[in-house]
């Protein structure tokens, strides 16, 4: 009996249906029974690719003897001595001659390459040539072909076209699909698959009892509509996007990308079509009038690591960031290993080095620095207020406008009232006023070294008597260039602190440090206000030259004259965050250095007046330190040296703006009626509210274009310092389709990815969805659709799904609904030994997949089953339990501050991800490291996983809470409790044997804990959630041990 076997695009004619195995997607059959048509695409190209392309492939530079085997022309070319491949004639084909040669000088691949063909591969090659050497393009670079779902012998089994493809293949392989899994298994399977959470027991029972024909579809629709769906879907996308909460290099400081993470969750939940999902993440910023959300979406390509290590060469890392974007984008959307073409032409796929840099050019156009911000987000970044904050912002803006309007209306009234008052005797006797809001220290230095708060400045060197000089009706201290004043308690600021330093000075030398808190050596760590040749310098220094800010006034201070100096720093860590005022007027600053990346706070040094790394010569008075950044109006008030009474004593025309404002301020504060005062005080209060709100608004790193595109050149050997040929943005020619650059920016790339012309995007996307529901993707090498990747097991199904996905408008929920409502998906995962022998990896899909839950789901399920799970979506990442000291032992300056309360029990995708010390529980269960793009995770089975499930407080607490809940419910017996607990965890009834095992254990353990009450107490105290005191500790402990066994069951950590 001869039957025809359809194995992908490969046709076998078999004498008997004796399939022995499926290995790597290949049907393995007894050779003597096989008269097979060899497929070039599936069988021959992989051999050539793996063994020959390195020297005879796309890479021009490495190509030997000018021979190219990755293209038709080369493979069939005439060479001296014959044709490389001579169809139908094995003996005449040089390819085979060389491969089979025993002469080491002739043998291919050369012996020293360490590459060898197996006998099977040699036979395949020879059969292929014998059969006429049919050639075809690599399947993945050819657009998906329309497929008609095949007819099968059992149409009744097929629920949708997926099943037709699968069943036809199974039938031709002589296999039958597995029976449908039972309903309990099914609803648990689909809930875990679609939402990452188990169903409630009540939902299971309802589904089991639901006899309506669309019961399954309704379950699926309910799950797709749940918020948990978006959260679960997001996890794999976060892996792909290398999302994390830290920057990933060296000190691995924090960043804040959770607004992007929440965008992803929301995009899945509102079922944003995949084409838009793509365009917004690649180029949302370049859409016409992009919304805030569309700009946040571009955070995708800012999730790469950022290097803030001192001493790096920024150009080197800027290149790395762009390369990361290229590699990630092409891995995620094209399933290609683009990075292989960075240093040379791709060895296997038609991607030239030049093309690599053409793609590079799309992503090379950001106003970014290779040197990342150490703590926080690196530019370009976006303020990304949450919806509630957006509302508040609008409201405040409105109220500010109103307040300003009222002030404008009432200003004349205020001015005339103040003017009238200023002529009164009261005004001329008015006590003086100074700005005290935010004031930390005020050293008047008028005959005393004591501050207003009683803190003493000491004169250094010791033993010198202070010298005083008269100034403006008071005194000022005279520094001779030798002495200085010190106070250990004042001015302890770091780079996140806002502050203002203010003083009156009369310099008598061009250079000297006025105010500082620094290590007193030249360019020492700390901050200083310094005079250099008459110019005012402000220095914020961690390490001079590469970790510091220096700004300098453009103008020179007049020597020998009193001036008021104020330096304001806004905590932004940028030179633009420093403002210098001379006599109340802001002066232009030249930026000498703007590379601050760590705090300049020095603990061991005092605040100094007149000293730092050099001494000030001249007079100083009225030194004030404010713990906030004063506004220019406020500084203007500080720069008024005259008292209120003095100003009042002058004629109106003799009062300058500052003096008038000082009078107004004093009058409003002390003498105005409530109504007027309210009007004028409302504005600053509102501005403060705005500021406070602004401080709370999260930021997110985003994509942004430079107005003038940065030049992109081919980098020789991929090195940042070896630029070569200039290139323009473009896409790989081998599958460019009808690519046309309309916009000349990333938007072109984004639109090309999701155009029908692109042969890869839809296939790669559906393949990734597919791998969520079965052991592997239809293409097992999710990350590589190139010639080194594995050919699809079901190429027609892959093409059909890819086209269907596009036909339904890239509807992600609909696509997955299609998959999970298929009969293929609903098969039991039971593995017979026959099937296991034939198809151990289940590539043919003759059964359902059985696989361990992912790291996140293992934990989330335990939280959910116990009822501990906190259901809230989004927000900053949280820090659940982790063994103590893990960060501290290898990191330098970050400590893990564990969350408290509800945040301990949030879904695992919200767990704070520090890349260099990733969450241990997640890593133990094979979570991706998030250091680079990952499109499929491994699944291992290790003793460390056993230890974690047995001993980690996460699971112990879940077990205890499960037990506790059971103990608080009515029950006739312990057996009943154990049975119910078993149901709660496994969602099925225990067998008699299972129940017997657990009950016997309970009886034994309850006895042990009765005898050892301390042990019981110790066990039930696991975790931070409370234990009701009414419960018997021994019983609870014994039930906890049983619950712990349940949570460790293979079936419980497995999706069956």
């Amino acid at each position: 009996m001869a039957i025809r076997l359809m194995a992908g695009r490969l046709e076998y004619v078999l004498a008997a249906a004796a399939i022995l195995a499926v290995q790597d997607g290949f049907l393995v059959v007894r050779a003597q029974e096989l008269v097979a048509a060899v497929s070039f695409d599936r069988e021959i190209r992989p051999i050539l690719s793996d063994l020959c392309f390195t020297c005879h492939g796309p890479d021009e530079a490495q190509r030997s003897s000018g021979l190219r085997l990755d293209q038709r022309d080369g493979l069939f070319s005439e060479r001296s001595g014959g044709r490389v491949v001579s169809p139908g004639n094995v003996e005449a084909s040089l390819l085979l001659q060389r491969i089979l040669s025993a002469d080491p000088d002739l043998q291919m691949p050369p012996p020293e390459s360490q590459r060898h063909l197996t006998d099977g591969q040699k036979q395949l090659l020879s059969r292929w040539i014998q059969q006429g050497a049919k050639w075809s393009e690599h399947w993945a670079f050819v657009r998906p072909q329309a497929q008609t779902p095949p007819q099968t012998g059992n149409p009744g089994w097929c629920r949708n076209p997926i099943d037709q493809f699968v069943l036809a293949r199974l039938e031709s392989a002589g296999l039958r699909p597995a029976t449908e899994a039972d309903r309990r298994t099914l609803i648990r399977r689909v809930s875990l698959d679609l939402t990452g959470l188990p169903p409630k027991l009540s939902e299971v029972e309802a589904f089991v009892a639901d006899e309506s024909p669309d019961a399954w579809e309704r379950v699926v629709d309910g799950l797709l509509a749940s918020q948990a769906y978006g959260e679960h879907m997001a996890v794999a996308w976060l892996d792909a996007a290398r999302y994390a909460d830290t920057s990933g290099y060296q000190n691995d400081g924090p960043r804040s990308m959770w607004r992007w993470r929440d965008w992803v969750i929301e995009a899945f939940n509102r079922n944003l079509p995949f084409d838009q999902f793509t365009v917004e993440q690649i180029a949302g910023d370049l859409l016409e009038e992009p919304t805030l959300e569309q700009r946040i979406a571009t955070g995708f390509n800012r999730n790469h690591r950022g290097n803030a290590e001192g001493g790096i060469i920024p150009e080197e890392y800027q290149v790395e960031y762009v390369a990361d974007r290229v590699d990630t984008t092409f891995a995620v959307w094209q399933g290609l290993t683009m990075g292989c073409a960075r240093c040379h032409d791709h060895k296997y796929d038609p991607l030239s080095q030049r093309e690599y840099y053409q793609v590079f050019a799309w992503f090379n156009n950001l106003p970014e620095s290779g040197r990342a911000i150490k703590e926080g987000n690196s530019p370009p970044l976006l303020k990304a207020p949450l919806p509630a904050q957006q509302r508040q912002l609008r409201e405040l803006e409105q109220r500010v406008a109103e307040a300003e309007q009222r002030i404008r209306e009432l200003q004349p009234e205020l001015s005339s009232a103040v003017e009238r008052w200023s002529f009164t005797a009261e005004a001329r006797g008015e006590p003086d006023w100074v700005l005290t809001d935010g004031l930390q220290q005020a050293y008047r230095l008028s005959g005393s070294l004591e501050s207003d708060g009683g803190q003493l400045l000491t004169l250094s060197p010791a033993g010198v008597e202070p010298q005083w000089t008269a100034w403006s009706g008071r005194q000022a201290i005279l520094l001779d260039g030798g002495g200085m004043l010190e106070s250990s308690g004042a001015g302890a600021f770091g780079y996140f602190d806002r502050f203002t330093l203010s003083a009156w000075i009369r310099p008598e030398a061009g250079s000297g440090t006025v105010l500082s808190r620094m290590i007193p050596v030249e360019q020492g760590e700390g901050y200083s206000v310094h005079l250099q040749d008459g110019r005012v310098q402000v220095n914020l220094v961690k390490r001079w030259l590469d970790d510091a800010i220096r700004v300098e006034s453009e103008s020179v201070l007049p020597a020998g004259q009193w001036v008021h100096l104020a330096v304001v720093y806004d905590g932004s860590r940028l030179a633009t965050g420093i403002h210098l005022y001379v006599n109340g007027v802001e002066v232009p600053l030249a930026v000498r250095l703007d590379r601050l990346n760590q705090t300049f706070a020095v603990k061991a040094e005092p605040f100094r007046v007149g000293g730092g790394h050099s001494r000030f010569r001249g007079a100083v008075s009225e030194v004030r330190i404010y713990g906030r950044d004063l506004s220019s109006e406020e500084v203007q008030l500080l720069a008024v040296s005259e008292s209120v009474a003095e100003i009042a004593g002058r004629g109106v025309g003799e009062r300058n703006v500052g003096q008038r404002r000082k009078l107004e301020t004093v009058w409003l504060e002390r003498h105005a009626d409530v109504v007027l005062r309210d009007v004028f005080e409302r504005l600053p209060a509102l501005r403060r509210q705005q500021r406070e709100l602004d401080d709370q608004i999260p930021t997110v790193m985003v994509m942004q274009e430079l107005p003038t595109p940065r030049e992109t050149r081919v980098l020789q050997r991929g090195q940042y310092d070896r630029p070569g040929e200039l290139v323009q943005p473009g896409v790989p020619a081998a599958f460019a389709g009808n690519f046309a650059g309309r916009h000349g920016n990333r938007l072109d790339l984004a639109r090309w990815l999701v155009s029908g012309e692109n042969p890869l995007t839809a296939r790669v996307a559906v393949n990734r969805f597919w791998q969520r529901y079965f052991e592997f993707g239809l293409v097992r090498t999710t990350e590589d659709f190139g010639s080194q990747g594995e050919a699809p097991v079901y190429p027609e199904l892959l093409d059909w799904l890819a086209l269907e996905f596009q036909r339904i408008g890239w509807d992600m929920k609909a696509l997955q609904r299609l998959i999970v409502t298929s009969a293929t998906y609903r098969q039991s995962s039971r593995q017979s030994s026959e099937l296991l022998a034939i198809d151990p990896d289940n590539r043919l899909l003759a059964r359902g997949a059985r696989r361990r839950l992912s790291a996140e789901v293992v934990r989330d399920q335990a939280l959910s089953l116990s009822g501990l799970l906190t259901r809230s979506i989004g927000g900053p990442s949280v820090k659940p339990y982790q063994p103590e000291g893990l960060w501290k032992e290898i990191a330098t300056d970050m400590e893990y501050e564990q969350s408290r309360g509800a945040d301990l029990y949030r879904r695992s995708l919200y767990t704070y991800w520090k890349r260099t010390v990733a969450p241990p529980l997640m890593v133990t269960f094979d979570a991706a490291s998030r250091e680079a793009c990952t499109v499929s995770r491994g699944r291992t089975n290790t003793p460390l996983q056993a230890l974690a499930l047995l001993n980690d407080v996460t699971f112990l607490e879940a077990a205890r809470v499960l037990a506790q809940r059971e103990l608080q419910a009515e029950a006739k017996s312990a057996v009943e409790r154990i049975e119910r607990m078993f149901c709660a965890v496994t969602l099925r009834l225990p067998t008699a044997r299972e129940l017997e095992i657990l009950c016997a254990r309970y009886e034994r353990n309850v006895e042990v804990y009765r005898r050892q009450p301390e042990a019981a107490l110790a066990l039930i105290r696991a975790g931070e959630s409370g234990v009701p005191e009414t419960l018997n500790a021994g019983e609870l402990a014994a039930f906890t041990t049983v619950a712990s066994v349940l949570l460790n069951l293979d079936e419980v950590i497995t999706r069956e």
Partner: protein
């Protein structure tokens, strides 16, 4: 051909350990974290080891932060006369510097403050900072011509441990676990331990498995809490109760195996048993009560303090005794940009004795014959001063172009100084050894051809040594 196919068929999935690699050691030897080799590609290149190994184990004493070769091993007497003079451009040759010093206005030569002496019969130069190391100089092969590519800590140390500057590749130890498996049935094949403090952090990736399955990752043994994460039973669960619970778990899982036919459950059952065994093997390992007074004389009293470098050295020996293949120590604190003389002396005081003790101890126990010990950091330090050069103080910036490491033990030609640098310890003038060469050499000692230990990922056959590396036979016996 049909025979091969039959083999494939008969081997099935799970029973097929080390598929395609004909007896790859990995999981077959019950690599602790290996468990079974599930649907896994075997390494290309045939069975490991490729050749009779000279060494069975490696202890890597990594000195994180980069110790100064100029103050420890690379003796440059001529520099004394050049103190404070500008580093000649002919030496620097426009090579790149880090951003910390590249805009320094001058590059004054800073000779070491420490005295050097030739040691042992081999006459290797060692500084006075390391008297104990000096005393075993005849065992050591000093490689003064090490060089690397990166000039910053993170990429440089990542390069050292994984062969690439960027994250994502498997670490040396995980390649070894993947290639050779474990010799121990109840301890991991690859253990990492940390000591010291300082400016420079470490990263999980340094003992991570990169794109290899996570089971090949190093297990970090900690000095705080459980030596291995989640090792101890929680308070209230005694060993007896644990045993009982495990018995039930295994019975119940066994029932499920009958139901589902999934051989993965068999593996799981085995891994829970392994976990249980570890619960006694690891505490036994870290229990030093059986160590003699002589041990602590040798390693110093610090060896009693968990988390100290000395303790870790002693642990390294104990791990070796128990068949652990790769012990990776990281000692932090060598990043001496400023105040180098003071800080390096402190570091040396902390590490010198236990380092020498470990080599001596291994030798006395006959373990040095098949154990390689490696000492060194991620790069060297500059001859020119960073910051202010004063009578008693100087600092040194990162220097990738030459630095010194030493090796000892199995297959190593001890008592020699390999390679040579110029008078400024700036460029190598003879016998350079690149990081890839060192890694190739270490693999070679373990019987592995570094060209053939590969793993296919993203379509490419990756190696620890990327596309580089040569065995440095000059270091070998």
């Amino acid at each position: 051909m049909s025979g091969t196919i039959e083999q494939h068929v008969l081997s099935g999935r799970r029973g097929f350990l080390g598929r395609g690699a004909g007896g790859l050691g990995l999981a077959a030897l019950g690599g602790l974290l290996g468990g079974e080799c599930v649907a896994e590609q075997g390494a290309v290149g045939g069975a490991f080891p490729h050749a009779a190994p000279r060494a069975k184990r490696v202890i890597f004493l990594f000195q994180s932060g980069a110790p100064s070769q100029l103050d420890l091993f690379d003796y440059k007497p001529r520099l004394l006369g050049l103190r404070g003079t500008e580093l000649p451009e002919s030496v620097r040759q426009g090579q790149r510097l880090t951003g910390m010093t590249s805009s320094q206005s001058s590059f004054p030569v800073a000779p070491t403050m420490f005295r050097f002496r030739q040691r042992g019969s081999s006459g290797s130069w060692v500084s006075e900072l390391l008297p104990r190391t000096a005393s075993i100089a005849d065992r050591l092969c000093f490689v003064r011509s090490m060089h690397t590519e990166a000039i910053n800590h993170d990429p440089a140390i990542t390069f050292f441990q994984t062969g690439a500057q960027l994250a994502g590749r498997p670490s040396l130890g995980s390649w070894l676990s993947y290639g050779l498996g474990s010799e121990s049935s109840d301890l991991p094949a690859f253990v990492a331990m940390i000591s010291g403090a300082g400016d420079q952090p470490l990263y999980d990736r340094l003992w991570g498995s990169g794109f290899l399955p996570t089971r090949y990752a190093g297990v970090k043994f900690r000095s705080q809490g459980d030596p291995v994460l989640y090792l101890s039973n929680p308070a209230g669960i005694s060993r007896e109760i644990r045993r009982g619970l495990l018995d039930d778990l295994q019975s119940l899982n066994g029932l499920r195996l009958e139901q589902t036919g999934d051989p993965e459950i068999t593996t799981r059952i085995a891994q829970y048993e392994m976990a249980y065994r570890m619960q006694s093997s690891v505490p036994e390992l870290t229990d030093l009560s059986g160590e003699s007074a002589g041990t602590f004389e040798l390693y110093g009293e610090e060896a009693r303090r968990p988390g100290s470098f000395a303790w870790n050295c002693l642990m390294a020996r104990r791990l070796c005794e128990r068949g652990v293949r790769f012990v990776q120590l990281f000692h932090r604190g060598w990043d001496q940009h400023l105040e180098l003389p003071k800080n390096i002396a402190l570091q040396c005081r902390m590490t010198d004795q236990p380092t020498a003790a470990l080599v001596t101890d291994l030798e006395q126990r006959g373990l040095l014959e098949d154990t390689v010990v490696v000492w060194g950091g991620e790069f060297g330090r500059t001859v020119y001063c960073q910051g202010k050069l004063t009578v008693s103080d100087y600092g040194r910036d990162h220097h990738p172009r030459c630095f010194t490491m030493w090796l000892a033990g199995a297959g190593i030609r001890g008592g020699q100084m390999w390679g040579e640098t110029d008078d400024f310890s700036y460029n190598i003038v003879r016998d350079p050894v690149h990081v890839h060469d060192l890694n190739a050499t270490l693999l070679h000692l373990l019987g592995i051809d570094h060209l053939r230990l590969t793993y296919k990922f993203q379509g490419r056959h990756y190696r620890l040594t990327d596309v580089h590396g040569n065995v440095s036979s000059g270091l070998l016996l």
